[in-house]
Subunit: 259 residues, 4 copies
Amino acid sequence: MSKTIDLNCDMGESFGAYTIGMDEQVMDYISSANIACGFHAGDPGVMDKTIQMAVKKKVGIGAHPGFPDLLGFGRRYMACSGEEIRQYMTYQIGAIQAFCKTHNTNLQHVKPHGALYLHAVEDKDAARAIAESILSVDKNLYFVALAGKKGETMRRMGEELGLKVAYEAFPDRAYTKEGTLVSRKEKGAVISDPGLVAKRALGMAKDGKVTAIDGTVIQMEVQTLCVHGDNIHAVDLVKNIKNLLETNHINIKPMGEAS
Amino acid sequence: MSKTIDLNCDMGESFGAYTIGMDEQVMDYISSANIACGFHAGDPGVMDKTIQMAVKKKVGIGAHPGFPDLLGFGRRYMACSGEEIRQYMTYQIGAIQAFCKTHNTNLQHVKPHGALYLHAVEDKDAARAIAESILSVDKNLYFVALAGKKGETMRRMGEELGLKVAYEAFPDRAYTKEGTLVSRKEKGAVISDPGLVAKRALGMAKDGKVTAIDGTVIQMEVQTLCVHGDNIHAVDLVKNIKNLLETNHINIKPMGEAS
Amino acid sequence: MSKTIDLNCDMGESFGAYTIGMDEQVMDYISSANIACGFHAGDPGVMDKTIQMAVKKKVGIGAHPGFPDLLGFGRRYMACSGEEIRQYMTYQIGAIQAFCKTHNTNLQHVKPHGALYLHAVEDKDAARAIAESILSVDKNLYFVALAGKKGETMRRMGEELGLKVAYEAFPDRAYTKEGTLVSRKEKGAVISDPGLVAKRALGMAKDGKVTAIDGTVIQMEVQTLCVHGDNIHAVDLVKNIKNLLETNHINIKPMGEAS
Amino acid sequence: MSKTIDLNCDMGESFGAYTIGMDEQVMDYISSANIACGFHAGDPGVMDKTIQMAVKKKVGIGAHPGFPDLLGFGRRYMACSGEEIRQYMTYQIGAIQAFCKTHNTNLQHVKPHGALYLHAVEDKDAARAIAESILSVDKNLYFVALAGKKGETMRRMGEELGLKVAYEAFPDRAYTKEGTLVSRKEKGAVISDPGLVAKRALGMAKDGKVTAIDGTVIQMEVQTLCVHGDNIHAVDLVKNIKNLLETNHINIKPMGEAS
């Protein structure tokens, strides 16, 4: 029996005359695209083109909504209420759904971006607001939420509402033995060796296993792996991950086709 | 046999801490609401609340997309390409559709706002871009376009694509004998006498007749009348129009229920 | 020997087609105006007109810079670095200075707005960033900072850099016996009785005395009192404060003319 | 007697996480930098860093204000009134002046960006609004305006108000025999051969001569040449221009030091 995993990557983060990411190149190696919706990045033209590209390359399409902070690229916490978060999410999900209709496809998932994702990991009300927004727009959308112990609350908010939750792990991030992400402020939090990252991706995909920073092997349920496509090295890394997974008979598939 | 007309009004133009319009009061007297979508006015919170209110008061819900110019309230022409206009429209229509889903209702119509509307009246490519956007998102949406001779091109762009077009007239605006709006720069372009405006609304709704600025009576197919709700006098005027129409056995109904 | 106090009020918070505040009316009763600079509120047109009005009414002109969050009116904390805060401040102070030059006047003071002000009260780095920005643009500008115990750090950051700091108190806010503001979440935090607010303003201006929420009379050095002008009641209150102060021979003067 | 010319280039057009241009590289070969002011591009952090870099490299600093259209990079005409243009200019010039103070330097010039520049070439009222803004903020600032016949009105609006106007030519653009720029829509409007562009720059700088598209040699008073720095080829081209000019004993100097 073969194993299946999804590779997701942030896409469509360009804006107007500004380009970020190597969307066209990376799109060949991933199975799901988290597409920015115009609040922290992206614009209607970029969304239109990125979805067209994703459809062509058979990549699952996700909304990647963020805080309304283009200047900070959605990486800065903003003290928004749960109500505001729900409304910002709904607006952005709707906007991207319209482009999906334009290209005769369906939205597959929703993954909050940057500081909003981190906030949802920490804050139950934020996580619930996100889940409520998804539910109110389309209960069939996957909610991408953090795998491991740290992500329990975030995932539970989705599951309690009956959403399909896709557990997400980060092959290039170190985990503690408790299964939480090592803070970026600490040494060793980000793993840069491409071979090691690919190997970790394989462990996550094949056995649901991650070697924590102290050497402990921990178990973690994972359905989607987050990869990056900002620069040529990142693209190479995604390619390596894909190759290593396929060599090991792991099917890379959009989360919506996993079951 | 009774006649039917729709009364539409711009709604949901508040933004953050800023309030414009008397939405709650005017909602009692109209049948369709054109709700701003966040580009020229409106925000996710305002959209959420305005749609909730419209649902409660059984008012048909429309998208009211504009140029991306909050500072200018969408009243200034921007040299956007047809492609850009189509994409901006799609984004905004999608955003409002998501809030319709939140409140278990459907979007009824799309009416471009301010400078975008005027541009679509003048420019075939802009009108087509708007119609294409509507078609790509939902072919059952009404496209509100200018009634009378001046609006022919705008309407044709919608009709050629198979859209349902709602012909819109302005009871408080003077028309030339050719059936075009008298420019706001000219004297007498805007009619301020409430009694006269209500009477003109009745003529439009009952007989499809408008008295032009030179006294000629012209024929004009009309399905929806645009009214205003910016201040207490405007609200009174809408109330007067509604009363006069109903006294004369005209049914005021959302355009989507007209047939 | 007569006493002197400054009455400051937020002004110029309108934006594009949106109006907030009763600037024209309240300008008659205050001595210093904190003018929004386009990030949380205000726009170039509003700044231009508000400064013109302030010059005409001999009101001292201040920059009122905020977080870049028009949608949240600058009332939401944003996790900006000290460097970002310094740069946002500098940008906004410069913008308003240019309009001061247009109207042949000088900028008098800088008072951060809303969540940025509160952040500077709590966070030494933010307060220093604000002070550094002011210093880098014009060392003669007054830095308006919170009076009382709670504001010590904020003020010290300004004073250590050699800035003139104007100690600000809030006659409509309750204070603890330690001289800190009672949190808005607690009962009695905001005082709404106009007579009482005016009386408190007089106590602050005349004797530097405030009656704390527990009845203790505390001493507080104060150079400027913050008043509000959002609605007709607020305007009346400002008028009452001015009258009571003048009846008691307190000179109301812009902070820049106080000495 | 040696000749002098200024080489100006657009700089500081990055925004938040987005990078445009190769500012650091190109700064070595130019004498004046037109720095975006946050409306069409640029942000407070970018302005701060770009001015710091310009000071270090002894490059003259200019404001490069544009229409408030980040999404369109200021390249789209917006129907702003003269009053609005004047106010937008003043705001942006003030903002950049504050960063000049931060870095103990002075603003040298103002050059409107993109669609605003083109609008000022065509529209007397827009040109006057720009000139009035400059005058109101600092009458010693240079106003960069189009050289040749086409730019006459734009320049006159500045000169009539007593501003110092720097006549600007474009070595990579074809001119008609009447001395106007060949429209970008026409073939041959943009010259891409680096050697030819450098040679044209030399002709402009040395003799005030330009060979028009029909072969006619026309005379044109020029004080500053516009060059580009968007990509590595553009940077090479600037370098070539600088080298060719210096080999021919033309001094490359900021416009403010020309006399």
